[in-house]
């Protein structure tokens, strides 16, 4: 934690504020940092739309991401383990995965609304699509990176296949699974905002909040909302890294 780490961001903010004061950056295109800070205060105290305050928006967004991410991990990790372990299964499923994976999660939005309606289910589905593939692919890669002599050795010592998957392959691929979880959560979080653009039933969500601020032409609140999304994403990733260090002290 050296002061040098913060030097560049602080310099950028100072320069930005200076240019805004000097009238070189029009406020309607890019509000000054101080105006954005005021926007943040307004988001907390007044809310956007008025009455819908920031903490509730944040809570609803986290709730949607938690659901989508939880489902993605629940499905992605076991499937990844099995696909890493079984070559026929991998050969069977990979073409399907490779076909669906390049489709951007956002392209699913109209279908998602058709299938699940407007609400938590369709938002969770979009986030699930964003988070699932990184988790799956990293889990497969993790399993395949386990030294092949280890399961062989276990087998010669009389281990059952079940034990090989759970006691050899799973621990061996945990570091890679963690990478997948972190990427998946990051993409899920990014996808969320766009998923909320299309309408939410509760009237809460950071993406919805930004869209509303856009409707009401409040660039300061849009930027403040973007800041909240960025910082929350950073905190989530930091939390996962701490967890990783706890669980995998040898890494």
């Amino acid at each position: 934690m050296t002061p040098r780490r913060y030097a560049l961001p602080l310099a950028v903010v100072a320069l930005w504020q200076g240019l805004s004061w000097a009238g070189l950056i029009p406020a309607y295109k890019l509000p000054s940092p101080l105006a954005i800070a005021q926007g943040l205060v307004d988001l907390v105290l007044v809310g956007m739309p008025p009455g819908h305050r920031l903490p509730s928006h944040l809570f609803y967004s986290l709730y949607r991401v938690a659901w989508g991410f939880f489902l993605a991990a629940l499905l992605g990790v076991p499937l990844g383990l099995l696909m890493g372990w079984s070559r026929p299964l991998r050969q069977l499923v990979t073409p399907l995965v490779e076909l669906v994976r390049p489709v951007p999660p956002l392209a699913w939005i109209p279908i998602s609304i058709l299938w699940f309606g407007i609400g938590i289910k369709s938002a969770a589905f979009i986030i699930f699509l964003g988070a699932f593939f990184p988790i799956l692919l990293n889990t497969i890669a993790g399993v395949r990176s386990v030294n092949p002599t280890l399961p062989e050795a276990a087998r010669t010592l009389g281990a059952r296949e079940r034990d090989i998957v759970l006691k050899v392959l799973l621990p061996g691929s945990v570091p890679s699974i963690f990478v997948g979880l972190r990427i998946g959560l990051g993409i899920g979080w990014m996808t969320l905002v766009a998923a909320e653009f299309t309408g939410v039933r509760s009237g809460y969500g950071l993406g919805y909040m930004i869209m509303t601020a856009r409707d009401i032409q409040r660039a300061d609140e849009i930027m403040a909302g973007m800041g909240v999304i960025g910082i929350t994403g950073l905190l989530i990733d930091w939390g996962l890294r701490v967890l990783q260090r706890r669980l995998l002290p040898w890494k």
């Binding site: 008025p50 309606g117 409707d215 032409q217």
Partner: protein, 320 residues
């Protein structure tokens, strides 16, 4: 000989191509809302050649799904003039996002709250606890819904208001995801002809003769090319008169631009009042109500209205 003529012609076309637009001014960049029958005058002016008759070249620079999006395009400097709702334009100006003025009215009335055809909801008050879709925050319809609720003695937070784009509203109503929606015509009419919805209340009964869409002009464009703006307004007045005098022909143009059938467009046009006269009192009501909602902060609504409405161009044209 032939080749020399060709080269000469090519040079001439090239020079003209470079010089003419600069001399006559580049095309006027306009915008309207997708399938919004309120803005029929812009389509009529294009189809009937009213812009061309004024010596104007017009380019459609954007077709938007809701007013706030169009105002963002104004803020980005992408538009010179546009057909847009009075509420989003007011909010964009009051929040210093776009610098536009209203130089003519486009229509009054023309929206409706629609419930499902078999819905037990008979009054606005019965919307308590229900989910109602609006095209966007700070749209005319958002405004009208909140006005209707307050007239029915309902606080706005007693109703779940969600944002849906009008083309998605009928589907959402049919599948029961929303209990009601408020939208501009022809969507209420379409919901009726599809037998999906029933009008709970037309917007003219929420607020009689309420101003709705305006012809907005970017202040920079007005300053740079006042004559072009005047001609645009003239074409708009002509188109508005045309709609009122020849509804049958206007109907056909409406069908072409909305892609909807004759019955729907006819029903929709019945709910819209086409006029170009700006209303000072109407705009003041918008400013005061939007301030009360917390969307904008305007200290002196009278001064704001005076700056927002540009009645001069119309006065010069119509002599009133």
């Amino acid at each position: 000989m032939k080749i020399r003529t060709l080269i000469l012609a090519a040079c001439l076309i090239l020079t003209l191509g470079i010089w003419l637009p600069a001399a006559a001014g580049r095309p006027v960049r306009i915008a309207y809302l997708q399938a919004d029958i309120h803005q029929l005058a812009s389509w009529v002016a294009m189809e009937k050649g009213f812009y061309r008759a004024q010596g104007l070249e017009v380019k459609v620079a954007g077709i938007f799904k809701a007013g706030p999006e169009e105002m963002s395009a104004f803020a980005a400097g992408e538009l010179d003039m546009g057909y847009v709702g009075e509420a989003p334009a007011t909010v964009a100006v009051a929040n210093h996002a776009a610098r536009v003025q209203a130089c003519a009215q486009v229509n009054t009335e023309g929206s409706a709250i629609v419930v499902a055809a078999g819905s037990p909801i008979k009054t606005v008050a019965q919307l308590a606890g229900k989910t109602v879709a609006v095209p966007g925050h700070s749209t005319v319809q958002d405004f009208l819904l909140k006005k209707a609720l307050s007239q029915a003695g309902l606080a706005a937070d007693k109703v779940k208001i969600i944002v849906l784009k009008p083309p998605e509203m009928i589907g959402a109503l049919r599948t029961g995801q929303i209990d009601a929606f408020i939208a501009w015509e022809p969507y209420p009419a379409k919901a009726q002809t599809m037998k999906v919805g029933r009008v709970l209340i037309a917007s003219g009964r929420i607020w009689k003769d309420h101003p709705c869409c305006i012809l907005a002009v970017d202040q920079r464009f007005l300053k740079a090319r006042p004559q072009a703006v005047k001609k645009m307004v003239k074409a708009h007045v002509q188109a508005t008169d045309f709609i009122n005098r020849h509804p049958q022909q206007a109907l056909k143009i409406g069908m072409k631009y909305t892609g909807m059938d004759a019955d729907t467009v006819r029903l929709a046009m019945k709910n819209v009042n086409y006029t170009y006269r700006l209303s000072v009192d109407g705009e003041r009501q918008y400013v005061e109500f939007l301030s009360r909602l917390g969307y904008i902060k305007v200290k002196d609504s009278r001064a704001f209205v005076a700056g927002f409405l540009n009645t001069k161009i119309l006065e010069e044209l119509t002599g009133k």
